[in-house]
């Protein structure tokens, strides 16, 4: 059995106004992969391709060792999927949906399902049309979590949710990770969630993967340096620095390949380093996208 839960190589897909271009993503078993990107970047398309719902034009897709979309039936037995635009049947109750899922999957854990009902604050006898947005998202997630699938593929699981609901969901996602055989891939443009629970992060923008690293290494590579530049000094381009914004004597350098010697390198040019700051994933997200778009346009 393959060590990779998800293995996309050179995946391309062309639509009229958008195309996915040679996407490579590997997620080892037992890890959480966060997919970040602006709206329309291709996160949902990538997820659909790895679910076998959309056939790639080029490239190899293997999920839990199965080729997609040819072996999608076998794969989908072990995958739990939910997406932000997914709806359940409005005229039916949550209980009905639970019974339906239970009738298909033998791995359904009713005890855990009842626990989730309590934790999520949901009423099984209520019809779906009476659920609020947040309750609907949690209901869809319950239907997926109670099966204890080996792979969870979630497209925007916390989007549009209040902080309490978000926390409830993150708690269950991490709860699933107590089992080292389980893997999670989720997409979000909520960088806080990705920063918190992801082991690996992949950035997508305009159909291309622009970065893919393990989170700790990644966060370590990015720094913001606040500099004071005396008059007459021109800041040189230093390796590892992707952007410098200067106004008068104050400059801010953004580095995506930070080395411990970098502040000294600036000091040697005559500038003074006031502070070296870590960046949040959100700040990295924006800087990264801007930088990669500049590179493409250049």
């Amino acid at each position: 059995m393959n060590d990779l839960a998800i293995d996309l190589r050179g995946v391309s897909k062309k639509y009229k106004f958008f195309s996915l271009d040679k996407v490579d993503i590997q997620v080892p078993r037992g890890q959480v992969m966060g997919l970040i990107g602006p709206n329309g970047a291709g996160k949902s398309t990538t997820i659909r391709i790895l679910m076998g719902l959309v056939h790639q034009d080029q490239g190899e897709v293997r999920v839990l060792g199965r080729r997609m979309p040819e072996e999608q039936i076998a794969a989908k037995w072990d995958i739990g999927f939910s997406s932000e635009d997914l709806r359940l049947y409005e005229a039916m109750t949550l209980e009905w949906h639970m019974a339906f899922v239970r009738s298909v999957y033998s791995t359904w854990d009713q005890q855990y399902a009842n626990l989730l009902l309590k934790r999520f604050g949901l009423r099984a006898e209520q019809k779906m049309k009476g659920f609020s947005h947040g309750q609907r998202v949690k209901a869809a997630l319950l239907l997926v979590l109670a099966r204890r699938p080996r792979l969870l593929v979630l497209d925007e699981p916390t989007t549009g949710l209040d902080p309490v609901a978000r926390h409830e969901i993150l708690r269950e996602l991490m709860g699933a990770m107590a089992d080292e055989e389980r893997t999670v891939l989720f997409s979000s443009h909520n960088t806080q969630d990705v920063e918190q629970i992801s082991d690996q992060i992949t950035f997508i923008d305009r159909g291309r993967v622009i970065d893919s690293f393990d989170k700790e290494t990644y966060l370590d590579r990015w720094r913001r340096l606040r500099l004071e530049v005396p008059p007459g000094i021109d800041l040189p381009a230093l390796p590892g620095v992707i952007a410098v914004k200067q106004q008068g004597r104050i400059a801010i350098a953004t580095a995506n390949a930070f080395e411990p010697d970098l502040p000294n390198a600036y000091e040697r040019t005559g500038a003074r380093v006031n502070r070296v700051e870590n960046m949040t994933l959100e700040e990295i997200f924006v800087a990264n996208v801007e930088h990669s778009r500049e590179e493409v346009n250049a």
Binding site: M51, L53, I79, L86, R87, L88, A91, W96, S103, V104
Partner: protein, 226 residues
């Protein structure tokens, strides 16, 4: 791991449950129409039969639309496709489910018609072959509409299919009426199963098989399921 036919069965059952109100409504209407036919009054007999025939066709059209198009419209398609099924199995589940729902009013009508002719003697027994031919037409039409809606995926295709096949009846009936070998033996006391009748019935059956074959072929060529 449950086997695949069981998953398809669960999906068909799910669709039947979702349409329970429709199914009950058609059963009730069917029973009412039948009761009307039992009055044996010339006017009401014809009135009941024609009304029921029309209602049948309408029900068929609505069902195909509802069962197939709603998954896309109401955005439940992703939920269904995340189940362990292929698009071919989805096709099967939708076809079986939609046809089953249609069968309820249709079989009621067929049974009522045969019973009225063979048991109650409203019409001579010679009319049995033609009754079968005429009653099978909406079933063929329904299969065609369902197939086109499933493959076309949009409301536009559903409407086009409805227009094409529902208006085609007006072409077929005169043809039937104008074919002596089909209508020549209407007055007889016993049903006459001549070559023409059998050929026509055979063609109807073949049409259904052809529709299914084309549907599965076209569905298997699709590369995107959502």
């Amino acid at each position: 791991m449950t086997d695949q036919t069981s998953v398809v069965r669960q999906m068909v059952w799910k669709d039947l449950q979702l349409h329970r109100p429709h199914i009950i409504a058609t059963l009730v209407c069917g029973a009412a129409a039948l009761a009307l036919l039992l009055l044996k009054h010339e006017g009401s007999t014809y009135f009941g039969a024609v009304t029921f025939f029309i209602a049948l066709i309408l029900v068929g059209c609505l069902l195909a639309a509802s069962n197939i198009l709603n998954e896309r419209k109401k955005q439940t398609l992703a939920f269904v496709m995340s189940l362990p099924i292929s698009s071919i199995q989805y096709t099967t589940a939708k076809l079986v489910g939609t046809v089953l729902m249609f069968l309820i009013p249709w079989l009621t009508l067929v049974i009522a018609a045969i019973w009225l002719i063979a048991v109650k003697g409203v019409f001579p027994h010679g009319t049995i072959p033609i009754a079968l031919i005429v009653l099978t037409l909406p079933f063929v039409g329904f299969c065609a509409i369902t197939a086109m809606t499933l493959v076309g995926k949009t409301e536009g295709w559903n409407i086009a299919a409805n227009v094409i096949f529902n208006s085609s009846y007006s072409l077929v009936w005169p043809f039937i009426a104008g074919t002596p070998s089909l209508v020549g033996d209407l007055g007889k006391k016993e049903p006459v199963w001549n070559g023409a009748v059998l050929t026509f019935l055979g063609c109807e059956f073949a049409a259904i098989v052809l529709i299914l074959a084309i549907t599965y072929y076209l569905q298997s060529r699709k590369r995107d399921f959502v």
